[in-house]
Symmetry: C2
Subunit: 276 residues, 2 copies
């Protein structure tokens, strides 16, 4: 099912590369072009069959009818103006950024056919070498249309994600950022903070529980610093709520109050079981 003629992926890393592999595999576009700062990334993307042609220069995106911005949040914001000079007014533009308020607010002004996307997929790994087809199968993709979003563009972007196997949910950009601060940004902040305070000489005593809880702390530092700085209010509020809640456990331990401790732990357990 061909949805687009020429798709340009700006940032052919883990997400952009996996997206390209799937668009290619499912025949959703006639051709796919990739843009990356790194020549080697483009070579790998081409070799893996993700893209038909790659370039380090944005001029390659002209004539595209879909541009996907799959770079870190900050780069999305920095590139938007330049990108707008290369594409037509009709070109649909989406991004896969992990925060949405700032991006949607700015990109909506620049691109007439912009739709914000956030596929809840990927991992702590990065780069085209870790990209794989099927990444979005059975995942959730959040779209963040506003009242000014072109309904036709929204519909096409929804079909795109559905074709890639994702269930699509629409959220207001600010609702998206509030939810993600709890289910993704705060957990990352905790993982970074936890591994940071463990004395190095204790690490050899870390079993699977420590490995699991800190796995995401190897996520890309630049990318995550950008995410934190593009959703500051929500993340700071989530951190403060968390600190207060952690103090409840601390206080119950200090007071040797087993009843309250068991209650807190039971509640946590029941809620975690919903996650599956």
């Amino acid at each position: 099912m061909r949805l687009f003629d020429k798709v340009a992926i700006v940032g052919t890393g883990l997400i952009g590369g996996s997206l390209a592999l799937d668009i290619k595999k499912k025949g959703l576009a006639r051709e796919i072009f990739g843009v990356s700062r790194h020549k080697n990334t483009l070579l790998l993307a081409k070799k893996s069959g993700a893209i038909d042609k790659g370039s380090q220069h944005l001029s390659i995106i002209q004539d595209a009818d879909l541009v996907v911005l799959a770079t870190p949040v900050n780069t999305i914001l920095n590139l938007a103006d330049i990108i707008s000079k290369f594409i037509s007014q009709e070109c649909i533009v989406t991004d896969v950024g992990s925060t949405k308020q700032e991006i949607v607010s700015q990109l909506s002004k620049i691109f007439p056919n912009y739709v914000g996307s956030h596929p809840l997929a990927g991992s702590e790994k990065r780069g085209i070498k870790n990209a794989y087809p099927g990444m979005f199968e059975d995942s959730l993709c959040i779209l963040t249309p506003t009242r000014n979003t072109n309904p036709k563009a929204l519909r096409k972007i929804k079909i795109l994600w559905n074709q890639l196997g994702a269930k699509v949910i629409n959220l207001e950009p600010d609702t998206h950022d509030r939810i993600l601060s709890f289910v993704s940004h705060l957990p990352h902040a905790l993982a970074f903070s936890l591994i940071d305070i463990i004395p190095s000489r204790y690490l050899k005593f870390g079993a699977n529980s420590l490995k699991d809880i800190t796995r995401i702390s190897v996520s890309d530092s630049q990318l995550w610093a950008d995410i934190f700085l593009s959703n500051p209010k929500n993340i700071v509020r989530a951190i403060e709520l968390f600190q207060k809640n952690l103090s409840r456990i601390k206080s119950a331990i200090n007071k040797k109050n087993k009843k309250i401790l068991v209650k807190i732990l039971e509640d946590a357990k029941s809620k975690r079981e919903i996650l599956g």
Copy 2:
């Protein structure tokens, strides 16, 4: 290689059951007896071949030359006196409790041949139904001898864990509890606290990162309340250190200081990479 004649496992759950399966499989004892409060656990333990005979009454442990206490921390402390009435002075006693100061201090007074063990194995699952042979293969087991520990008993317990595939390290009980408060107890407190503050309606947006970081929050509540209450000072100090460190991220976000954020995240990443 027969190390013991009659081994009694008090608490044939995840750890006790797996231990029994391995002792049986490797022929380290002539016979293995199991004690549990639950009849069904004993039936399952017998059926799986972990134990030769099971009972809900402690009297079954008499004549054992090794008793392994594999119940939650609090139960270990509560049962010690009664157990001492059933066994000989020569019987070696060990436990698999997750905290050691309190247990070692009390059990050393009660049993002449006591050696504290803490195998760093297992998972958030529990019960004999999740027990499996090979659990301790390539794991680490901490022994916590004191200057009063009988060297012969220590040697036999070390051989036992080695035979089960574990690497053995000796630590002072207080060193053990300090290290474990960082690499295990604090991570559990964080997982419980995190899942607790996430509004239930947000959970469907939780991806793999949230699942991994909160996986251990389904751990048994009674067991973990006991662990927290038997290592209070170390855990409270670890929580406080963590809260301060998390505030560094909060402060860097508030100050929009990307340089410091990236530094914190880079440090975390480098340290996590040591864990493998």
